[in-house]
């Protein structure tokens, strides 16, 4: 059996779902060691692993891109991993590529499917899957939402091995603080109906069209990331990886392509209806119903019937 190290991601005292997803998958593929940095109290949550390696130091009490990479690199150098699994998350992105270069081993990123000898990456905004052959020691970064988290949630008392922290004297990155998002006017995570606008909406002048439709449906407006980056809507309306996770009764998308980072935030919705003129848009792989009409025709057509 191959030896798989799973880099545990935790935030504000709890283990993140991506870790359980990876643990569940890793168990199918080999012997699992969880690498838990900065909070050894969480080891008891990692029953799916055969062993947990913990590293603690004051510099590791909050996530620190430089100190964490250094620590993971040290753990991997001292261990017997054949494969290192890292989340393709904000924290994981600070580790995976750097580890691959430091260890001089391959990295396969955006993994959504994994077998013992191959990893499938979701690329091109979810439009193309790319399978890579893996053999020998490697790093794999896993797209959140790819594997069931429940498969990796297990009670148990894995063997815990405490490792000394590396020397952090040369570390230049210092954690300062966390900035919490400002509360919005509506909480999109509690809405039954969300009408979600994407880049297909073209301009901020068209946002009122979406607002009107949402009001008629008794719901609120949410959106994809570019809408927030363009400052057409506030951050509290963003659904996805760096936004919010939502599970409304209806999620109606207008001009959203369905990039993996968006899908992460909405694929659990009870009913997903997608409107997109591109019949190959990945959003249709996740929607229950799809429509390839122009959204500027669809909105008035729908509004007039409500």
């Amino acid at each position: 059996m191959s030896s798989i190290y799973v880099i545990v991601e935790h935030f504000k005292g709890s283990v993140e779902d991506i870790t359980f997803e990876m643990l569940g998958k890793a168990k199918e593929l080999g012997d699992v060691t969880a690498v838990l940095i900065g909070n050894k109290a969480l080891a008891s949550d990692l029953g799916a692993a055969a062993k947990v390696i913990t590293v603690d130091a004051p510099e590791l009490s909050e996530f620190n891109p430089e100190a964490y990479l250094k620590t993971v690199n040290e753990v991997v150098s001292n261990g017997d991993a054949d494969m290192v699994m890292v989340g393709n998350t904000s924290m994981g992105m600070d580790i995976a590529a750097g580890l691959s270069v430091a260890q001089n081993i391959p990295l396969v990123a955006y993994a959504s499917q994994m077998q013992a000898d191959s990893v499938t990456s979701q690329l091109y905004g979810g439009k193309v899957n790319v399978e890579s052959a893996v053999s020998g020691k490697c790093v794999v970064s896993v797209l959140p939402g790819s594997f069931p988290a429940d498969a990796g949630r297990a009670d148990g008392a894995p063997a815990v091995e405490e490792m000394a922290a590396p020397d952090f004297s040369g570390v230049k990155v210092k954690f300062r603080k966390l900035i919490e998002p400002e509360g919005g006017d509506v909480d999109i995570t509690t809405q039954d109906v969300l009408v979600s606008a994407g880049r297909g909406i073209q301009s901020d002048e068209n946002i009122p069209l979406v607002e009107e439709l949402a009001a008629k449906l008794g719901g609120a407006v949410s959106c994809s990331r570019p809408i927030v980056d363009n400052k057409w809507l506030g951050k509290t309306r963003q659904v996805g990886k760096s936004g919010l996770k939502v599970k409304p009764k209806l999620y109606l998308t207008l001009g959203i392509s369905g990039a993996p980072e968006h899908i992460e935030g909405m694929k659990e919705a009870d009913l997903i209806i997608a409107v997109n003129t591109d019949p190959n848009a990945p959003i249709f792989d996740y929607a229950h119903y799809g429509c390839t009409a122009d959204l500027f025709d669809l909105i008035p057509a729908l509004s007039s019937k409500l």
Partner: protein, 253 residues
Amino acid sequence: MNIVVPIKQVPDLVEELEIDGSGKDLNREWLKYKVNEFDDHALEEALLYKEANGGTVTAIVLDSDGIDKVLHTAAAKGADKVVKITGDFGDSVSSHTAGKAMADAIQSLGFDIVMTGVQAVDDRDGQLAGIIANHLNTPNINVVTGVTKDGDNLVVQKEYGGGVVAEFEVATPVVVGVQAARETPRYIPVAKIRKASRGINIEEIAGSMDGSAGSDVSRMFKPEGGQGAEMLGDDAEAAAAKIIEILKEKGIK
């Protein structure tokens, strides 16, 4: 501060992507390329930093078809220097090969900050920023939404999920992967790009070719797409009527 901004082009996803005869790459014959949108944000953030604090911005690319226009655009937006790394990298160059060549060129140019896009749609073997940083032996912070100055140090904001932002302080040199600039990337009219193309000299550096992805593509395929959506067609009126029916059935409206 010398800020270096690696930029690359990626296939435009608006076009239909086809897989070539080998089954291992895209059919690139008719592929349309565009600048990686996150690189565009990286350039914007670099220019905002320069405008506030002084310094220079250098845009750097690997040679490929149509890449001069990318450099001219960067110059028109305000880059002080534009550099092309020459060599036979090909269209499907791996992140590890590109990252090594970039790092070697950036080392020779000298730098305080490297800002590049947090990811690209074709980064099969990982994100460029982390690769460049480790070759340059500097810290690396990704998913960055702002780089500002505080005394001698930089303050870097990094996004986590749920809209939470972590703030870090770091002494240069550093490599950051930019998710979004503080401002929407500036738009430059074509006439200005044309003008810039006449006024700027593209510096060329011969690229090193010794980076390798270390893994091979065995197959490329379109996702089967779960169970797939039931399609309601492209007629707005008919689709709207059908949607109303579905909503009624589900008790939503």
